[in-house]
Symmetry: C3
Subunit: 423 residues, 3 copies
C-alpha cells in the first residue's frame, strides 16, 4: 500500500511535540493570568448588580468541560472497533485545541498586549474545541491523528475569525452558539468529508457499526451532553435572570426533543422499534436548535416547540438524508453530524430575527474553510488509513489480543500468554 504510510512512528511525535512547543512559546509571549484589573469582557446585567468574582463561572466551566471530554468523547464510541480512537483522539484534539483557541480567540481582545486568562476565557476555549470535535464526527474512522491535528489548527483559527466577525462586526446574538459552533462545525466537517470522499466505502464497511456494549458506552456521552447542555447555552449569558432564562429554555427544549426523537424513531423504524443512532443523537438536537435564542424571552412553550421540531428534523435526517448525502453527494458523514449539529444549528440561527448575515458568515467560512482544510489533509504524507483499515483502532493503537481474535473468529486458539496483538 504505497499510498498509505500509516506508520506514525516519526510523523506523529514530531508534529505533536512541535505544535506543543510552538504553543508554549506563544503562551510565554502573550498569555498571563487575569488579575481582575480590567474587564473588557465582563457581562452587564441591568436587572441585578453583580460583583463578578474570579471563580463565579467555575461550576459552569466544569459542566462544559465534561461535555467536551466525556460527552463528545464517549458519544463517538458507538463504533465496535473504534472506541480507543473516539475517546482517545477526542482527548488529544481537545487538549491541543483549547490551547490554540485561547491564543486565536484572545488575540482579538489583548489588554496591554497580553491575553489575560480567566474562567470566561477558558470556557470560550473549550467552546472553540467543540467545532473540531463536531467535524471529527463527520470523518470519524477515516482519518489519521496527524490529519486531525492539522484540521484542529485550521478549524479553530478560522472559527476565531468568524466568531469575531459575528460578535463584534455583525453584532449578532448567538449565546448558545447554534450558528458559530454547531452549524460551523458541522458544515466544516462535511466539506472536509466531501474532499476526502472514499468510493471504496460506498457499500459500507464491516466495522462501520456498533456492538451491544459499544452502544451503551455511547450513551454515557449522550446523557452527559443532554444533562449539561443548559450550562453550554448559558455559561456566557449575562448573569442573573438572563442566565436563568437560558437554562430553562434549554432544559425544556431538550425534554420536548426527547419525546419527538423517540416518537419519530419508532415511526420510521422496522416494526416500530427504536434505533440507538437516533436516541444517541437526535435527543440532543433540541439543545443545538435553542442555542441562538436561549437567553431570549421566547417563553417556555416556545423553547419546547423548538425542541419538538428539532427532534423530528434530526431523526428524519438520520433516516432519510444521510444515505442520500453519501450516495448522491459523496459526503460520508460517519456520525451524522449534519443531523445533530448542521440542520438544528441552522434551525437555531433561523429562529432569531436578523441573524441571516451571521448565519451566512458561519456557513461561508465553514464550507470554504472546510474544503481548503480537506485538500490539505488529503496530501499523501499524513498517514491516512487505507479503506480496509478504516473504523479500526488497531491501525493507530495497540489493541488487546482477545478482541483481535474474536474478529478473526479463532477464539478457541488464542495464545493467552501475551497481552498485545502484533498487527
Amino acid at each position: 500500500m504505497p499510498a498509505y504510510a500509516t506508520n506514525m512512528r516519526m510523523k506523529f511525535p514530531i508534529v505533536a511535540l512541535a505544535l506543543e512547543i510552538i504553543t508554549i512559546i506563544l503562551f510565554g509571549v502573550f498569555v498571563v493570568y487575569d488579575d481582575g484589573k480590567s474587564h473588557g469582557h465582563e457581562p452587564h446585567s441591568n436587572e441585578t448588580h453583580h460583583e463578578v468574582k474570579p471563580m463565579d463561572l467555575y461550576p459552569m466551566f466544569q459542566d462544559v468541560h465534561v461535555m467536551i471530554f466525556i460527552g463528545f468523547g464517549f458519544l463517538m464510541t458507538f463504533l465496535k472497533r473504534y472506541g480507543f480512537s473516539s475517546v482517545g483522539v477526542n482527548l488529544l484534539l481537545a487538549a491541543f485545541g483549547l490551547q490554540w483557541g485561547l491564543l486565536t480567540q484572545g488575540i482579538w481582545h489583548l489588554e496591554d498586549g497580553k491575553i489575560k486568562v480567566s474562567i470566561f476565557k477558558i470556557i470560550n476555549a473549550d467552546f472553540s474545541t467543540a467545532t473540531v470535535l463536531i467535524s471529527f464526527g463527520a470523518v470519524l474512522g477515516k482519518t489519521s491523528p496527524v490529519q486531525l491535528l492539522i484540521m484542529t489548527i485550521l478549524e479553530i483559527t478560522i472559527f476565531s475569525i468568524n466568531e469575531h466577525l459575528v460578535a463584534t462586526v455583525l453584532e449578532a446574538n448567538d449565546v448558545g452558539a447554534s450558528m458559530i459552533i454547531h452549524a460551523y462545525g458541522a458544515y466544516f466537517g462535511l466539506a472536509v468529508a466531501r474532499v476526502l470522499y472514499r468510493p471504496g466505502l460506498r457499500n459500507g464497511h464491516e466495522n462501520d457499526g456498533s456492538v451491544y456494549h459499544s452502544d451503551l458506552f455511547a450513551m454515557i456521552g449522550t446523557v452527559f451532553l443532554w444533562m449539561f447542555w443548559p450550562s453550554f447555552n448559558s455559561a456566557i449569558a449575562d448573569p442573573g435572570f438572563t442566565q436563568l432564562t437560558a437554562v430553562i429554555n434549554t432544559y425544556l427544549s431538550l425534554a420536548a426533543c426527547v419525546l419527538s426523537a423517540y416518537a419519530i424513531s419508532s415511526l420510521v423504524e422496522h416494526k416500530g422499534k427504536l434505533d440507538m443512532v437516533h436516541i444517541q443523537n437526535a435527543t440532543l438536537a433540541g439543545g443545538v436548535a435553542v442555542g441562538t435564542c436561549a437567553d431570549m424571552n421566547i417563553g417556555p412553550f416556545g423553547a419546547m416547540l423548538i425542541g419538538l421540531v428539532a427532534g423530528i428534523i434530526s431523526t428524519l435526517g438520520f433516516k432519510y438524508l444521510t444515505p442520500i448525502l453519501a450516495s448522491n453527494l459523496g459526503i460520508q458523514d460517519t456520525c451524522g453530524v449534519h443531523n445533530l449539529h448542521g440542520m438544528p444549528g441552522i434551525l437555531g440561527g433561523g429562529n432569531a430575527a436578523m441573524q441571516a448575515a451571521a448565519l451566512a458568515s458561519s456557513l461561508g467560512f465553514a464550507l470554504v474553510g472546510g474544503a481548503i482544510t480537506g485538500l490539505i489533509m488529503k496530501l499523501p504524507f499524513w498517514g491516512q488509513p487505507p479503506d480496509q483499515n478504516c473504523f479500526d483502532d488497531s491501525i493507530y493503537w495497540e489493541v488487546p489480543e482477545e478482541e483481535e481474535e474474536e474478529n478473526d473468529e479463532s477464539l478457541a486458539h488464542a495464545d493467552h500468554s501475551k497481552n498485545k496483538a502484533e498487527v
Copy 2:
C-alpha cells in the same frame, strides 16, 4: 401471540407525540419564567441572611440531574440484554416526567395564575421523576414504553397530590424525601408489579441476570448516585448551616452504609464472596434512610448509625425478602426496589417523630395509586411483552447483529455485511 401486540409502530409515536403536544399547550397557558418578583417558595434561614440569587442552586440542580439521568439510568443496566431500555427508557420517562411534574407540582403554587419556573422548581420536577424511575425498577424488563408513559403520568400526578398534602396540610418535614419519594416510589412500583404478576416467570428467565460488563455499567450508576446523594438530600434545605448539616449527615450515613453492606453481603454469600447486586444497591440505602432527618441535628454519629442499619437491612432484604415476595406474594421486583427504596424509606420516615401521618399518607397513595395504575397498564393494547421476550431489548429496539448471534450461539457464521438484526 394475539394477546401481545408489541409492535409499537403506531401506538408509541401517537401516544408520545400526543402527550408532548398537550404538555406544550398546557405550558403555553400556565408556565412563565420566574422573574424574582415574588418568592412564595423562598427558604428562610434564621442564622444567616442570604440574598437568594436566581442561579444559586444551579450546581445542586446539576448534581440531582446527574443522579436522575446517569444514576438511575445506568444502575438498571445490570441486566445482560436490557441496557438500551434501562438507560434509554429512563431518559424518555424522566424527560417527559419533569415536564409533567412542573405542571402538577406548580398547580399548587400559582402566582398570578402562572407557574413561575425557577431552579428550585426544576429541582423539584427532577425529584418527581425519581418516583417513576424507582417504580420502573420494580417492573423492569416486563413492560412496554407505552405502559411506562402511562405510569409516568399517573404516578407523578398522584405524587404531587401526596406531596402537597404532606408538606402543606400535615406540615411534615421530609427534606431528603425518604417518605414522599423513596417509600412512595417503591410501594407504588410494587403495587404495579403485583397487578402485573407473571406466573410464567416464577422459575426465572434466561435474560434476568447480568454479564460481567453489564455489572460494570451498573456501577457507573451506583457511584454517581452515591456521590451526589448529599446534593439530593440538601438541595431544597434552608441555605447555610442547615444545608451543611444535610450534606454532612448524608455523606457520613452513606460512608457507614458501605461498610455494613459489604460486611453483610460477604456474610450471607457463598464462601464469603461479595455479590454485585448488594454492592450496586445496598450501599445507597444510607442515603435513602437519612433523607427525612438529614437537615436535623441528629449528630454525625447518629447519621452513621442510620447508615449502618440501612446497609444491613437492605442487604438482608435482597438476600432473603425478595425471593419471598416473588414466590409468596406474587411481587416480582426486578431491581429489588423494596430493599433500596422501600424499607430504608420507611426507616427514614420512622426516624423522625410525629411523621406517622406523612408516612401513612405516602404509603396509602402509593399502594392504592399503584394498584389502579397497574390495572390500567394491564389493559391488553399497550404492547406489553410476552413472557419469553421479557428482559430483552430486541423487542423494542434495533439491536446490533453480533449480540443476537452470540445469543444464538452461532458466532462463527456471522454475516458481517449487515449491521442490524432483523428480528
Copy 3:
C-alpha cells in the same frame, strides 16, 4: 492451599463491622457539625475580602469526590477480570478512609475538644483517601479486601502525621499535594508491593492485562480525573485570584501533558502506535507535577512546561522503568503508580524552592510506613490470594457465569439456566 485462607466469610464481615462500629463510637465522642463560630482553618486572601459561607466550597468538593470514586475507581478497571474489585473495593476503601481521615486529620485541629466537620474538612478527608487509592494501584490484583482495610487505617494515620508535620512544623506549601499525597501514596504503595513480592508472577499472569472494553471503562476514570484535576489542585487554595491561578496552571499543565504523552507513546511503541496504558495514565502526570506550585505565579507557560516534561517522564517510566523495577528490585507495580504519582510527585515537589525537607519527610514516612504496613499485611491470616488467583474477581466476588465460560473457552456449551458461577 493451606497458606491461602481466601474464604472471607467470617474474617471480612467481622473486620469491616468492627472498624465501622469503633469509628462510629469515636465520632460520637469527637465529631460535631461546624457551626461557624470559630474558623481556625479559614483561608485568608489579601486581594479580596470574602465572607466565607458554609457551602461555598461544595461544588469543588463534589469534583474531588468524583475523582476519588469514579476517577480512581474506573481508572483501575483496565484489567480484564478485575473490574468488580477495582471499582468496588475502591468504594469500600474510600468510604472507610474518609471517616478515618476525618478523625486522624481532625485530631490536630480540635476546637473545644471537638472536630468540627465542614466542607473544607471533608475535602481534606477525601484527599487522605487518595493516598490509599494510589497505593491500591501498586498492589492491585494481589491483595485481599481485609489486607487493604488494614492498609487503609495505617496509611491514613501515617499520612495525617506527615501532613501535620509538613504543613505546620515545616510550613511547606503543597497546595495540590504533589508530595504529601502523590509521592507519599506512590512510595508507600511501592514499599508495600516490595514486601509482598511474588516470585511466582515474574513471568506475568494470564489475567494481568486488558480486553477492549475494559480499556474503555478505564478511560471513564482517566477523563474524569483529567477534567476535575484543576479542582483537586485548587480546592483548598486561598479564594479569589490565588484559586484562579491554581485552576489555570493545572488546566494548562494537563493540556500540554496530553500532547507529550501521546507523542512519546507513539515514539516508543511498535510501529508508532499509541498504547492505552500510557494514554490512561501519563496524560494525568501534568496534574500531579504542577500540584505543589499550582497556586504560585509560575506563569501559564511555566505550567505548560511542567506538564510537557511530566508527560514525557511518565510515559518513558511506563515503557522502560516499570519492567526494571519488577525484574531487578522485586517491585511489581500493577498500575504503574510510580510513573503517574511517584516521579511526577517528586518533580512537583522539586519545582518549589526549599521544599526539600517536606519532600524528604513525605518519602521517609512513605517508605518506612509502607514497609511496616507491608509486613503486617503479609501475615498469613488476612486472606491473600494465591498466585494463580491473582487479578481475578471470582476469588472475592460472585461473578456472572458467561464470562467464566468465555474464559473456559466453552461458550457453546453454556448452561444458561443459572446466573452465578460456583467457583
